[in-house]
């Protein structure tokens, strides 16, 4: 009897598999492939958490690689034969660039309607799942609240000479910040004043770092008092690394970068990829990332259930036209590196 039972259940499984393959199973538009390959800018721990949760829910294993600046280059290089299904993480400016290069396939997950149009592509080529504000911060053992800068324009004040460290122009948050600041001047038809501000600020910058760890270490070890970075890095440094940092709510607002997700055109596992996007941006996952990894959600339901500190840290949002900025950022940053950076300093 046992044997027939096995045979029966095997037959049942087969049938179920066939039904799945034919798309006959109700509620399932198409069968998921055997895996999904995700290219991401997010860290190992966070990716592992998302991947484990996705696998638990769908049974589909997630394979991921994670890189920083090289990620877009890699997606671009693989255009002829894409190896990834989903691109996860990275600022909206990069997504806009890659959309223009015809590297993505439009896809709108079920929760897309609830996302503010500011955080997504109108045609559905990419959608934001995380908000990443860039804020100024300072070492509270070096400066009091009164001594700390109140707004970005203070960074050009000579009293902060050699008191500022910054990421270099290869960091996407630094790029977004420098060009967003410049845009504020451009909007007032005062682009020249904007360049002058950046030059004055550059004169105060003690060191540009090619690495976030060294940038934070410099502030932690009191080599400089002031810097700016993405909020989750600041919170991680305060919570995990016990650093004495305070966040500045800049008077004119702080730029908020949108971290996107997109379906790669020509993906080998398109159904699993769509399921992954559906999952990674769902309010539940966004809330989980907020709780465990200090990432600010874009979904209103997730914002409602975000951790306590997010309610406490208030900051004004800088009015940035990200779409217009996407066209200008490259040109401005090229000019910044050639004409602004270290222009007033001696070649050491």
């Amino acid at each position: 009897m046992r044997n027939t039972g096995v045979v029966k259940s095997a037959a049942g499984l087969m049938l179920a598999a066939i039904m799945l393959l034919c798309g006959a199973a109700p509620g399932l538009a198409a069968a998921l492939e055997d895996k999904v390959v995700v290219y991401s800018t997010h860290g190992d721990s966070m990716l592992e958490a998302v991947a484990d949760a996705f696998e638990k829910k769908t049974g589909v294993p997630v394979e991921f690689i994670n890189l920083k600046g090289e990620l877009a280059d890699r997606v671009r290089a693989e255009k002829g034969n894409p190896q990834s299904d989903v691109m996860y993480g990275g600022p909206s400016s990069v997504y806009q660039k890659l959309t223009a290069e015809d590297l993505f396939e439009p896809y709108s997950p079920s929760w897309a309607d609830k996302i503010d149009p500011l955080f997504k592509d109108a045609k559905g080529y990419w959608i934001g799942t995380i908000e990443t504000p860039v804020l100024m911060f300072y070492n509270s053992e070096m400066l009091s609240k009164d001594q700390a800068p109140k707004d970005w324009s203070d960074l050009a004040d000579p009293k902060y000479k050699d008191q500022i460290v910054s990421r270099n122009a290869l960091s996407s948050s630094a790029r977004a910040t420098y060009s967003a600041l410049l845009q504020q001047y451009a909007k007032k038809n005062a682009l020249e004043a904007g360049w002058k501000f950046l030059k004055d600020m550059d004169a105060n910058v003690k060191r540009y770092y090619g690495s976030g760890s060294l940038q934070f270490q410099a502030v932690g070890r009191k080599e400089a008092a002031v810097s700016f970075a993405v909020l989750n890095s600041i919170i991680d440094s305060i919570k995990d690394n016990k650093m004495p940092l305070e966040v500045v709510d800049a008077a004119s607002g702080s730029p908020v970068i949108t971290d996107g997700i997109a379906l790669v055109k020509g993906a080998k596992h398109p159904n699993a990829a769509k399921a992954f996007i559906e999952f990674a941006g769902s309010p539940e996952t966004q809330a989980m990332l907020a709780q465990k990894f200090n990432r600010m959600p874009t979904h209103p339901d997730a914002i409602a259930s975000s951790p306590e500190w997010m309610g406490k840290i208030t900051f004004k949002v800088m009015d940035v036209d990200w779409e217009a900025l996407a066209d200008k950022e490259a040109e401005w940053m090229q000019k910044w590196d050639m004409d602004v950076k270290d222009s007033g300093k001696d070649q050491k």
Partner: protein, 570 residues
Amino acid sequence: MRAGDGFREAGRRIRRSWILLPLLWALVGYVLHPALMTLAVSLRGPDGGVSLAGYAAFFTSVSELTALRNSVLLGVLTVLVCGVIGTWLAFFMHAVTFPGKRVLDKLFLLPMMMPGIIIVYAFVQLYGESGLATRTLQLALSLDKPPLDLVGLPGILTVHAFTQYAFFYIAVSLAIRRIDGSVIESARCLGASRGRIFFSVILPFLTPALVTASAITFMTGAGSFTAPSIIGGSYRVLTTRILLSKANNYLGMAAVETAVLTALSMVFFLGLRWYEGRRTFAPSVRAAAPQRLRIANPWLKGGAIAATAGLTVLILLPFFTILLYSFVDSASLMVSVFPETFTTDNFTAILTRRRAFAPFVNSVLMSLLAGFLCLAVALPAAYVIEKTTLRLRWLIDLLVTLPWALPASAVAINLISAAAEPSVFSFSLILAGSSLLLPLGYCIKGLPLMAKTAHVSFQNLNGALLEASRSLGATGARTFRRITLPVLYPGLLAGFLLVFVRSVGEYATSAFLYTPSNKPISIAMVNAVFEYKIGVAMAYGTLLIVLTSVLALVIGRLRPRGMEGAPAGR
């Protein structure tokens, strides 16, 4: 007999061309093609036609020209400091025997195995404004201001000096062995001064080694990215410009900058080759075994030992820092300089990860594979360059050197596009997404190291010895096993070790070519840095140091059957 000779000569020529075919196929497909692709992009005008506009823009921009000048200066200075350090160490290790010498010899390869970012980190933790060494000095001398800072040209050069000497060390170590003791002896008998002996006897023996090492080191120095990017400060170089142009989507300008940097390296290389060609003389058939150079004067010897000990400390100090910090909590590293408590948490964090050992296994296997692939290409290449008169040999010489002059991203990106569709260069297989791509990338980047080391040892191979073996009736196979292989073995082993050690911690190519199934150790390490877990990154570093040193020692002791008595490789 004459007809027979001609016949044999013709046969040999045909056999040589057979060596050439697969060699050229591999070099053209994986080296020349990517280089030409970059050149093509750099020449693309705004309207899509061929144009020199990009170059015109480059050579009229003050900041581009500054970057170019700085890159040249950095390359030349790197050659000078590394040349002095590497050559000195090679002579010292040759002249002095002491216990643990073999281990120290392998430890000198350590700087090659660490990903650049980790090495630069270690240097910053030591000599940066709030580094261990800086603060220790400040406390000891009770200074108001930190006495050291690692920034700009001096900063970059400090890192280069103590990490990029390895090629001089290896090449000179190999070349010292063929210095003919009898020539030195005769020169001395004829009353030549020490200086004269050095310049007119010892130096000519070393010229090929110094030339190849200079070329390789110049390319490493001028093409160095990590140190200028992290601690360069206002010292602007071409490599950082290239990355920024790419990030800013100025792909044409990036290609121009890449082409200029590559051309610069190749000009330097060809210039040195030309100089070498004018000076090279045929090595004699050694009747007497090579003499060990000895330092007789006790004062001199003491001074030499002290200087070397000092150098050794400076070379190993960053690794000691990695070791020390791997036992320190990341949180305390962010705020305090001197660690107060020690923990094994960083190691626990690595070892409790799912598939914790996979990156180590992946890196070791892929690096070994890369080493063998390199041998297969570099051995015939070095033979053709050194021992034949084929017209194509200059091209082969150029091609095996080129990968060192090309940025890793250019090599990797072109490898990706080549792998996207079946081609004659991938045996008509689609290699895209395959785990083979990364070892292939390592192999291409390692090719110059292997070819240059093989080149130096081929010069030890005297044609007269082969001729003698043949005329005594030995078969080709027997000559190869008993004469060729024992003479080449130390060099090939050294080359293999260099490629292996370098690939284990390679980051730039890995970033483009790794797949979920072959994630290498360098990626795991750099990820830890991105997550602000410096302690964990250092723990990865410690594990890598231990693993690679043990493997390097084991590989270094291997001898093929029948040549157990052959001299040890370096």
